[in-house]
């Protein structure tokens, strides 16, 4: 496949996944696991794409954009690391390690977007003063999205034009223990996502539930889907119980 095509598609996907149009809609498109599947289709191995996407996604499970801040950007990470991994036939752990720095970079890109939005904010002030309803729509949705397209598309396009070659070169000259080390890091990095969620839930007296889930998998060989089912049952019982005080159960 031509590198140009890859770069164009990657740029488009990055735009779609971070456009924020439809809030949860854009989040679903921009989830690395979704992107992995799409890239997989493009490279002819959707299953491998899913696995790459999911492995990267695990790093960003816990990311919440509190107050509009993007602490790290899984969508950018995926839009760079997955096509590179396909082109160089990298293993999953290495792909994860490559993803990490781009996740951080994405945080800066969003700051550019939010700064540029000031222009349309002030234009909206003018529209309001004139009672211009349509103008407000444009300032709230259309203009910012057009600018966002440029801000999102260009960097991903450029990086993908050269990314695979650069990574290839680097990997060729790396000693084995560094490759192993990157792979070790790839296994540890998802822990960040989980630690962030534990922290943001922040109810220490409920931590035993974390350990029950953890050891349910370790000792009882229960899958995560089964844990979801039992967890929902437990949470539902807890909710009903506290809401019907005086009742027994």
């Amino acid at each position: 496949m031509s590198v140009l095509l890859i770069a164009v598609v990657s740029g488009l996907l990055y735009f779609l996944g971070t456009s924020r149009i439809g809030y949860g809609l854009s989040s679903a498109i921009g989830a690395p696991v979704t992107l992995g599947f799409v890239f997989g289709l493009m490279f002819g191995d959707p299953i491998k794409g899913l696995i790459l996407g999911a492995s990267i996604n695990l790093l960003y499970l816990g990311v919440v954009f509190t107050g509009g801040n993007v602490p790290s950007d899984g969508c950018l990470a995926a839009c760079i690391a997955i096509p590179v991994a396909f082109q160089l036939n990298l293993d999953v752990d290495t792909a994860v390690t490559i993803a990490v720095p781009f996740g951080i970079l994405g945080s800066f890109i969003d700051q550019i977007r939010r700064t540029s939005n000031l222009i349309w904010l002030h234009k909206a002030d003018d529209c309001a003063a004139k009672g211009d309803q349509k103008g407000i729509y444009w300032c709230a949705m259309i203009y910012p999205t057009i600018v966002a397209f440029a801000i999102r598309f260009i960097p991903v396009f450029v990086i993908n034009m050269f990314g695979a070659n650069v990574v290839q070169t680097i990997l060729t000259y790396l000693p084995q223990f560094i490759i192993t080390g990157l792979s070790v890091a790839g296994g540890i990095l998802p822990a960040i996502g989980f630690a962030v969620i534990i922290m943001s839930i922040g109810r220490k007296e409920l931590l035993p539930y974390f350990f029950m889930g953890f050891f349910a998998v370790k000792y009882l060989n229960v899958g995560t889907m089964a844990c979801a089912v039992f967890g929902i049952c437990i949470a539902a019982l807890m909710y009903f119980k506290s809401n019907k005080k005086g009742e027994v159960a």
């Binding site: 679903a28 107050g67 909710y239």
Partner: protein, 273 residues
């Protein structure tokens, strides 16, 4: 809020929600965050409420003031604002009250929404997606759209609820125990799932082993650790990072670099791998 005839139809309220759903984050800026999006969501229905041009302009400007909350649960504020503007048009309220209530609600609702929607629901649904994906199953693709739909449906429901109940009932709801109960129950589910997911998807193991002189058999350290408490090293990693965040501040970049460094050094000495 009395049971009088209401000005806006369900369809018109839904239109406000749709704009909000589409635009809530598109013009999020450093100065006033979600203000233009909120204003856009209100615009058409404000026109109906205020046929008079001056009132309309004033209303648009009112909703361009600083505003930020979580968009899903926060849809309730769109509904409440519509109801309040309706009251204002009848002369029962002043604009200051509307702004005050919006500012008062946005904080607690951001907290609830960020926790329930982004902290829990997203993490759980995408966590399940990852589970299937890592087994190579396209069933994974069911879960991300479920998130989009959840946000849309919940937002539409809360927006209508807000319009129906107006500005009085919702703050009461927030104060009542129900929200707290809901968050506790969701926290339990969230923690339980994060436990299960991290058990599966954090990977740390040591290849260290020693040879028993008498028999020549090799004994792996990892096997022994597993016998004592399986997943000990994984827990160490997770709660090490947790400790780091809570005690050393949330410097993400420094943390990632530290993990990379430790991993490479440990790989060099054959301690991890």
């Amino acid at each position: 809020m009395t049971e009088q005839k209401r000005l806006l139809s369900k369809k018109e309220v839904n239109q406000s929600h749709l704009i909000w759903y589409l635009a809530a984050e598109t013009n999020n800026s450093y100065e006033r965050l979600q203000a233009p999006s909120f204003c856009a969501a209100m615009a058409r229905n404000l026109r109906k409420i205020y046929p008079n041009d001056e009132d309309y302009k004033e209303a648009l400007q009112r909703h361009l003031e600083f505003y930020n909350t979580e968009g899903t649960i926060g849809s309730v504020v769109v509904g409440i604002a519509l109801a309040m503007e309706e009251e204002k048009a009848k002369g029962n309220l002043t604009g200051d009250v509307i702004t005050g209530i919006k500012l008062g609600l946005m904080g607690p609702i951001a907290g609830i929404g960020d926790t329930l929607i982004w902290g829990m629901s997203k993490a759980i649904l995408l966590g399940l997606a990852c589970t299937f994906a890592l087994q190579g199953s396209p069933i994974a693709l069911i879960f991300p759209p479920m998130f989009s739909i959840l946000i849309f449906v919940l937002g539409r429901y809360t927006c209508n609820l807000g319009y129906k109940l107006g500005s009085e009932a919702v703050p009461k709801l927030l104060k009542s125990g129900t929200m707290n109960t809901l968050i506790t129950a969701a926290s339990v589910l969230g923690l339980f799932m994060m436990g299960a997911l991290s058990a599966s998807y954090v990977k740390v193991a040591t290849p260290l082993n020693w040879v028993i002189s008498s028999t020549g058999a090799a004994i792996g350290l990892q096997a022994n650790l597993d016998a004592i408490l399986p997943g000990m090293l994984q827990l160490l990693a997770i709660f090490g990072i947790y400790w780091y965040f809570t005690h050393k501040g949330q410097n993400y970049i420094k943390l990632v670099l530290t993990i990379l460094l430790i991993s490479i050094v440990a790989a060099f000495f054959g301690i991890l791998g």
